[in-house]
Amino acid sequence: MKWSVVVSLAMLFVIAPLLPGIAAKTRARLTGRRGAPVLQPYRDLARLWRKGAVYSRDTSRVFRFAPIVLVATAAFAASLVPLDGQRAMLSFSGDFVAFAYLLALGRFLLVLAALDTGSSFEGMGASREVTVAAFAEPALFLAFVALVLATGNLSLGGALGGPLSQAWPGAVPALAMVTVSLFLVLLAEGSRVPVDDPATHLELTMIHEVMVLDHSGPDFAMILYGHALKLALFGSLLVGTLIPRAALTAPLAIAVLALGLVVVAVAVGIVESVMARLRLNRVPQFLTAASALAALGVILLLVG
Amino acid sequence: MPRVVELLLLLVILTSFIVLGTTRLSACIRAVAVQGLLLGLLPLALYPGGSLHIWGLAGGTVLLKGVILPRFLRWAIREAAVRREVEPRVGFALSLLVGVVAVAAAFAISRILPLPERERAMLVPVALATVIIGLFVLTTRSKAVLQVVGYLILENGVYLFGLTHVERVPFLVEVGVLLDVFVAVFIMGIVVFHINREFDSLDSTRLTELTD
């Protein structure tokens, strides 16, 4: 296994928490506030990591397993993405499915954990989480289909690694649409505005935040980290689709990825500052739009 | 002697008409009795100097259709303390009209049919007419006894047709047929008797308990 794969993976693990920080900072700046320092997430993680834990009497093992599973699945999903631009650590035909379903496993456990507390708020959050996911999933898969059609390759590593660069010239509009829909999916999966608002303070309007209300200490740290990692993953998918880096040398590719991720984070921050959060019953339409875009891309690729 | 035959056949039709036209039960039964006698005579007229077969047939017919069955029917209605009118579902005049039409139709039909022997040509239409009249009586008369009468007329019609080739249908069968008719009417009579007892009426329209 080439060193670059390991390094790129490590890089992702390291900078993952940075992205929420950047997003928040951008948002604060654009709304005329100074905002928390970019490295704030690292501090939070460190603090939480050192804390003890508070558990509800109603909770069970599921509640304590969930954070671990979340991180583990995110990490494995990361190993399927060709971060150095050429190859992924794990790559097999149809690993798209594995990618999506690993993240789903993490979500499943997290939702169960939320229901485990028996708190109506967390139940509500869990319910919204699965709803959002149910609408985001088709969009994601359609994007994958588009990549398969564009590259004729059935694995993330293969598709994003090699042939995509050749595919772009032929299919600019299609792939552009796919990129956009991937971005929308990223906003949803990363529980960002306009789907969710990490900065809100009213439980009734939260989705992800309210779902993890009861977690504390290291557990909560893992959840935060896992969530950031998820964001980074979708970010790297986005970057990988937009900027095929197979041609570049490994270090350059990794650097481009890091830069791209930062850009994505900034973009997220900009969206958050210019858009308002959607009413919950509008979220499905938003994500259906994402699916529609991806589907359009697929159609274009089919006929073209 | 075709003349006699035709005369007898005309009489048969007339008796049927009587059944159609009369208002009194007893008259109907008498008419059927007469019809039975006529049927008994017909073989002799058809096959002059007939064999034992013919005589036996004639005798049996006269005995059963002319004597026993009418007697029996009278017995069956004797206890009935109800009015003896016919009360048809179709008026007498119309019934008679139907009778006439039936005869006409019968003749028309037998025109089409390839008939066996010409000299008995009239036998077939009369038979058909009788059959039709019998069915008509069966369906339009509400009194149980009259339905038996109708059945008898129907049977007579069939029997008339049977006469077209007595020599083809052997004696034994004729006897079997006669016996069956006899038993059938016999049982019907018993049932009529019971109907009288159960319902104090001969009116079979009361028998409408069994429905879906």
């Binding site: - | 069939v158 083809r168 069968v173 047929v177 019907m188």
Partner: protein, 475 residues
């Protein structure tokens, strides 16, 4: 000689049974007569009997099949009757056994007669023999039932007689032939006058159809079966209809021989389908169990007619279905009888919980339900399969589709009612089911199941031969 014995034995037994004073003896003679008859039939399978009276009486494979069916069913019903007579002694019960035996004699006459007039006589005799049995309860309902039965079937049979005479007339073209004898009719079928033959067929169809209970001549059936004691109902639905079917099959044989099949086929198919439709319509939401069975019988008569009409494998299917129908109907009527015995008068609409009250009968009802609706592995499945294959083979897809649709509707109706009766809350009643009464339907159930998984070789050959004479063949 054997042929004569087949008729004489039950007749004699009837007389003796009537002469006997005690019910025990009458029951005994009923059994004796039935078993002797069955024995004679068995002999007839081994040594084919010679024709009698210049071929008026003869036993071909078709007749033999009908005869066997009737005889076997009668034997079982006879045993049941013994238990029945112990349970309740019908008024005029003295003659009960005799009437039954007389019916057997008449049915045998039908089965062995190759002369249409004789066949007619026998058929009429069967009609008359069962009439008193229907009326045994001597109340208004049974009175009405027997009255309608008598009038309708007598009219029908009278028309059949006319048909017989027409047939004789049609034969005028062949003076050398023995009049109305089946063999001769078939051998010089070519010289029959088609017009008269067709007329004869029509009248015989109506006449025998009335006795079979083909719609729209079926109207007496629900009333009669509903009121008659269930064993009589079983005998009528099983044996009497088989005799009537034999009559129809006979004239069909002539028609096939005279190749007027194109004329005959639509009639049979039409009546068959109409019967199916009517049966389905009246089965929907039917609550009275016996009337239910009556309409189911109409349905199966329709299937028989369709089988005959389709020809080919259908003929085989029809004959086989005749056998199956006889035993299944027997089974169902006896089972229902056991269920209803406690409730003397007709069917209380809300029969339910049989399975708790009378487990055996309940179980038998279930078997009967699945058998009568043509589910594998019961006998009727095989015959209905054959009929269906014939429909497909003849390219009558729409007929096949209609039949299947109607069968589905019929299954829903039957299933809803019978299962409703079998399951559910048990109506409190102390009636225990006696071994006598339970044994008979069990035997029938075994027969039905047996015929579903195994058709003995001789029977199959007989079926094939019978189908052959009906212009068909065996699969």
């Amino acid at each position: 000689m054997l042929l004569l014995a087949l008729i004489a034995v039950p007749a004699l037994a009837a007389v003796i049974a009537y002469a006997r004073r005690t019910p025990q003896w009458r029951a005994t003679w009923l059994i004796v007569g039935a078993l002797l008859h069955l024995a004679l039939v068995t002999v007839a399978w081994v040594v084919p009997p010679l024709p009698l009276f210049k071929g008026w009486l003869a036993l071909d494979s078709l007749g033999l099949i009908v005869l066997t069916t009737v005889s076997a069913l009668f034997a079982v019903v006879g045993f049941y009757a013994v238990g029945y007579l112990r349970r309740e002694s019908p008024r005029g019960g003295r003659a009960f056994a005799s009437y039954l035996l007389a019916f057997l004699a008449a049915a045998s006459l039908v089965a062995v007669s190759h002369h249409f007039a004789v066949l007619w006589v026998g058929l009429e005799a069967t009609t008359l023999a069962v009439a008193p049995l229907i009326y045994h309860r001597h109340d208004r309902r049974s009175l009405e039932a027997v009255w309608k039965y008598l009038v309708i079937s007598s009219v029908g049979i009278a028309l059949a007689l006319l048909g017989v005479f027409f047939l004789a007339t049609a034969q005028a073209g062949a003076p050398s032939a023995r009049p109305l004898v089946l063999e001769d009719l078939i051998t010089d079928a070519a010289r029959l006058q088609p017009a008269w033959l067709k007329a004869a067929f029509i009248f015989l169809l109506v006449g025998f159809g009335t006795k079979m209970g083909l719609a729209p001549m079926h109207t007496w059936k629900p009333d009669t079966y509903g009121e008659a004691p269930s064993l009589v109902g079983g005998l009528m639905a099983g044996a009497l209809t088989s005799c009537a079917f034999l009559g129809l099959a006979r004239i069909t044989q002539v028609a096939v021989a005279a190749d007027i099949a194109p004329f005959v086929q639509p009639l049979l198919l039409g009546f068959g389908l109409l019967s199916l439709v009517v049966a389905a319509a009246f089965l929907v939401g039917q609550t009275d169990l016996k009337r239910l069975l009556a309409y189911s019988s109409v349905e199966h008569m329709g299937l028989l007619a369709i089988g005959l009409g389709l020809g080919g494998v259908g003929a085989y299917g029809a004959v086989l279905h005749m056998i199956n129908n006889a035993f299944v109907k027997g089974l169902l009527f006896l089972a229902v009888g056991n269920v209803l015995l406690p409730a003397r008068d007709g069917t209380p609409p809300g029969v339910s919980g049989v399975l708790h009250r009378a487990p055996v009968s309940g179980f038998l009802l279930l078997i009967g339900l699945f058998a009568v609706t043509g589910s594998p592995p019961f006998g009727p499945f095989l015959s209905e399969f054959a009929i269906l294959s014939a429909a497909f083979h003849g390219g009558h897809y729409w007929i096949a589709a209609t039949v299947l649709g109607l069968l589905a509707v019929i299954f829903v109706s039957l299933g809803a009612r019978v299962l409703g009766a079998v399951y559910g809350a048990a109506a409190p009643t102390g009636a225990r089911e006696s071994a006598w009464l339970a044994a008979a339907p069990v035997v029938l159930a075994l027969v039905v199941l047996g015929l579903g998984v195994f058709i003995p070789r001789p029977l199959f050959q007989a079926l094939a031969a019978a189908a052959g004479t009906l212009g068909g063949w065996a699969p």
